[in-house]
């Protein structure tokens, strides 16, 4: 046995850590059920079935509409919550599998004892792992136990979704929360190991700028396009280019989170854009080789690549694309097969074999580029003649874009309407699938916009990873007292209702108001892609510090763990609450005191669902854009029901009314403006000081007046006493309050907690 470490029922116990163990280390599926129920009582699920049927077993299909029940007895509410659980399990499993793949590889390559030195000036290296598992990982090998735990729990959660297992919708919801909690652990594990081994930024606020956009790719060179989320194969490509002094001769660009992590590894790699650009970029004919790893890939990448003769290298067991496993073949033979077109692609499952094969292949393929060219701009009108105006494209477009009219205009040689659709299109390709004459609508849109696209070059601050402990120490107090009005995290995918410019607009609104704005993933890319009249984007205008008015790009999807991790660290480092296996107390702290809100304006994936679920269990509200309503259920508070908004005052145990703060836990906004106002309201917490609440109320009122043209009608639920009223608005607010029958001090300002056991002394 190693000194200071005991193996207890297969788990590592660290006896050198003097923080006492909390009540819930390695929680099982039911351990935090009571905690979840506190939220689920307050924020009742509102289900909007995305499908009325269930087709999971051979009893079905079952129609569950209204009061109908399935052959197994499940209700519509049960089924919708089961689908939420399944989505969250898929998301969390995806991150966990990603983490496991990386861990196996990194343990092999770097050894078991690599220290987890993941952020500067930081002692709390892994807040989620400490909180959930009650262990303090010091070395790479310590993460194995953590993943063992996550995987075991996920198997149990999936089992609960089997026909005839869980039946109660609230229990399904609690399990979805559990999946979310596990997800953040998996995210953290995945990100800290890559930081520790691959030399990615360690929480520096001023990471270098990388280049983003179509226009950053020098198409005169051989171009490798990497897609996905698991950076290891791309790392090998970058290493090979560096070792062979080829970086200047070959272009390497990424799409989606792999691109973020490539830039964290080497800022000279380019970020082409968010997920929605996959089809567009492949169709452009610019890539000479496509390397895919895992997650959010277009599953038709082989079909698309084949049309243009672009070879594909797949690198993950999660996504083999039907290709032959060539992992152990002679690299030169594989290269010959790919360059000659004898093979359409190759599956290479050892990341350290991808670099050489990719670079040699792309150099060979580039020489024959252009054999199968995409069409020229002039051909758009010729192709458009085929259009019969049937409207099938519009009927199938999730954003109901005016495609038919645009194609109609293109027939007459007017390409402007087609070009205008480009920014609004999410690149899903459903219009093309629906079109009876198979018009290449996305290619036509992209081509019609080609001049603008060629100029798309934006700087983006490379993902920094974690928030340093020293930063938390400095801003903990102003956040908890409410003087920094809030922490807003703009995260998630690119399924936007009206283009990515909205994300930049929302970010700027809160940056100007001196919120802390965090971002990651496709949203971080979309923020980069809007410039002001001076040609500057938000990364150029706002610093990367975790402080008021800072724009903090943490990095890829897996780096989202640092956002929630920062809220956990506020409870631990600023408020000195124990983390170790102490989930409820920390979540209670965050929920009642840390004015953080997540916004996933274009959330699309099951991973995004899992990430959101991890926020819910920690008490962090999440707002999604209108497409997010397709996650099929909201968690909504009823602000007018006073009985729903009581907490304990930890000072004397009295139950007191604190008002509806935060009003919702999961909420879809119909418009950007609605989201702005809702976020400004959702950052309020029972613990706000008078000064802090006044600051928050002033932003809420200001945004409400701008977009709704009036004072809010619910101020009486948020103003607790006269000192909460922003001084400059006093008369105006008092008038509204008087009209609504406001009574001073009806809303208490206690030491708030939802946990009976946190009461220090009964009065």
């Amino acid at each position: 046995m190693f000194k200071g470490i005991e193996i207890e029922v297969g788990r590592i116990q660290d006896s050198t850590w003097d923080e006492p163990m909390g009540p819930t280390p390695f929680p099982s599926v039911g351990t935090l059920r009571n905690w979840d129920r506190k939220f689920l009582n307050r924020y009742k699920p509102f289900y909007m079935p995305f499908c009325d049927l269930c087709c999971l077993c051979t009893y079905g299909k079952c129609d569950l509409t209204g009061d109908k029940r399935g052959a197994c007895g499940i209700t519509m509410a049960g089924q919708q919550s089961r689908m939420v659980l399944i989505a969250c399990c898929i998301g969390a499993s995806t991150h966990a599998a990603h983490a496991r793949h990386m861990l196996d590889h990194l343990l092999d390559e770097y050894g078991r004892d690599v220290p987890l030195d993941v952020a500067l000036n930081t002692g709390v290296e892994a807040p989620h792992v400490r909180l959930v598992c009650g262990i303090r990982p010091k070395k790479l090998k310590d993460l194995e136990d953590v993943l063992d735990y996550v995987e075991t729990q996920l198997v149990q959660l999936v089992a609960a979704a089997h026909t005839g297992q869980e039946g109660d919708n609230i229990d399904f919801e609690s399990k979805a929360f559990h999946a979310g909690m596990l997800d953040h652990v998996a995210l953290e594990v995945a990100d800290i190991m890559q930081i520790a081994t691959l030399g990615m930024p360690r929480g520096e606020p001023d990471t270098p700028m990388a280049e983003l956009g179509y226009g950053t790719i020098d198409a005169s060179k051989p171009v490798i396009m990497c897609i996905g989320h698991n950076v290891l194969p791309s790392v090998d490509i970058i290493d090979y280019l560096m070792e062979n002094d080829l970086f200047g001769e070959v272009e390497i660009g990424g799409l989606c989170c792999t691109a973020h992590d490539m830039s964290r590894y080497n800022k000279r790699s380019k970020i082409i854009g968010p997920i929605s650009w996959q089809l567009r970029f492949i169709r452009s004919g610019i890539p000479d080789l496509i390397v895919v790893d895992e997650q959010c890939l277009r599953t038709d990448v082989m079909i698309e690549a084949k049309k243009l003769g672009i070879p594909v290298i797949a690198t993950s067991e999660m996504s083999c694309l039907g290709l032959s496993d060539r992992t152990h073949d002679d690299p030169d033979v594989i290269v010959d097969d790919l360059v000659s077109g004898k093979a359409d692609g190759a599956l290479i499952l050892e990341p350290r074999r991808v670099g050489e094969i990719s670079v040699k292949t792309v150099q060979g393929v580039a020489e024959r580029r252009g054999e199968k060219k995409p069409f020229d701009i002039g051909e758009i009108s010729v192709i458009a003649q085929e259009c019969s105006g049937c409207m099938e494209c519009v009927r199938s477009c999730p954003n109901t874009l005016e495609i038919a009219a645009a194609v109609g205009a293109a027939k007459e040689g007017d390409y402007v309407p087609l070009a205008m659709l480009y920014d609004l299109c999410v690149g899903c390709g459903r219009c093309e699938s629906a079109c009876p004459v198979s018009l290449p609508i996305i290619s036509m849109m992209t081509k019609a916009n080609e001049d603008a696209i060629a100029d798309e070059k934006y700087p983006i601050r490379v993902g920094r990873g974690a928030i340093q402990d020293t930063e938390i120490r400095e801003v903990g107090q102003p956040i908890v007292f409410g003087e920094i009005p809030g922490v807003v995290a703009l995260v998630g995918c690119a399924n936007y209702p009206a283009g990515g410019g909205d994300v930049a607009r929302i970010a700027e609104e809160f940056l100007k108001r001196r919120f802390i704005v965090l971002t990651s993933g496709c949203s971080a890319m979309s923020i980069a892609m809007t410039k002001d009249e001076d040609g500057l984007n938000l990364y150029e205008k706002y610093p990367g510090n975790f402080d008021a008015g800072g724009l903090v790009n943490v990095g890829s999807c897996v780096a989202n763990s640092h956002i929630t991790g920062a809220t956990i660290k506020i409870a631990n480092i600023f408020a000195k609450r124990n983390l170790r296996g102490n989930y409820e107390e920390i979540a209670d702290y965050i929920y009642n005191r840390v004015g953080a809100v997540g916004l996933a304006w274009g959330a699309m994936s099951q991973k995004a669902a899992a990430i959101a679920a991890g926020c819910w269990r920690l008490g962090i509200p999440v707002v999604v854009g209108p497409h997010g309503a397709k996650y099929r259920r909201m968690l909504l508070g009823r602000k007018e029901r006073e009985e729903d908004w009581n907490v304990y005052n930890a000072r004397d145990g009295e139950e007191v009314y604190v008002g509806p703060v935060p009003e919702h836990l999961f909420y879809a906004a119909e418009t950007v403006e609605e989201a702005l106002v809702m976020i400004a309201k959702l950052v309020m917490r029972p613990n706000d000081t008078n000064k802090g609440r006044a600051v928050k109320i002033s932003h809420y009122i200001d945004l409400h007046k701008t977009h709704y043209g009036s004072m809010p009608d619910d101020l009486h639920l948020y103003v607790r006493r006269a000192q909460d009223i922003p001084f400059t608005m006093k008369d105006e607010i008092m008038k509204v309050l008087e009209e609504s029958g406001w009574v001073e001090d009806k809303i208490a300002i206690p030491d708030p907690t939802l946990l009976d056991r946190m009461v220090r002394r009964r009065g």
Binding site: P49, R395, E670, S710
Partner: protein, 180 residues
């Protein structure tokens, strides 16, 4: 190509229980007039949608003047205010959540609505909220007056071209006003 079997948008495929198609505008008007507590729900896309009165907001203002409660979702109440009219305002999610609550007394506190009429939304968002109500507010009648068939409403207009839709809406609004 095989025959077209799906009404309206194919972006969201409907379930087994589908809305009745409103056979003619007068039927919708009669349903609204007959309801004891109707609510007209105007989505945030109303502003750009042309009608005989100008746009859908102008039309909603006209309807509100005939005594029918109107609620604007999203932030679109701001546009009503700019045009000098006060209507109710509530985010769509909050409204859906309350419409399924048998104890909710409505935006004016006077009692539960028996009819909710939706128009002015993106297709999928209206589809989803109507589906929440289809299963969880079964005693509430819902009507969609959108230009594309909405299968999850109780009653819906069929899919039609913009010009035809303008006329249909105009007939509905006129017949509502005649009855008052």
């Amino acid at each position: 190509m095989s025959a077209k079997t799906i009404l309206g948008q194919t972006a969201e495929i409907a379930g087994p229980k589908k809305a009745f198609i409103i056979p003619k505008p007068e039927v919708a008007a009669a349903m609204i007039k007959r309801a004891e507590r109707p609510l007209l729900v105007i989505g945030a896309e109303a502003q750009g949608i042309e009608t005989a009165d100008g746009d859908l907001i102008d039309t909603a203002i006209k309807v509100s003047k005939s005594g029918i409660s109107v609620v604007a979702t999203g932030h679109i109440v701001g546009e009503f205010r700019r045009r000098g009219t006060e209507v109710h305002s509530m985010p769509l999610m909050n409204l859906g959540d309350r419409l399924r609550d048998p104890e909710w007394l409505g935006l004016d506190g006077k009692g539960r609505y028996d009819l909710a009429v939706f128009v002015g939304f993106s297709y999928y968002l209206e589809w989803l909220v109507l589906n929440g109500l289809k299963s969880f507010a079964q005693d509430l009648t819902t009507i969609s007056l959108s230009r594309s068939y909405q299968p999850n409403a109780g009653w819906s207009l069929g899919t039609m071209k913009a010009e035809e839709w303008k006329e249909v809406i105009d007939v509905i609004v006129k017949s509502i006003k005649e009855g008052n």
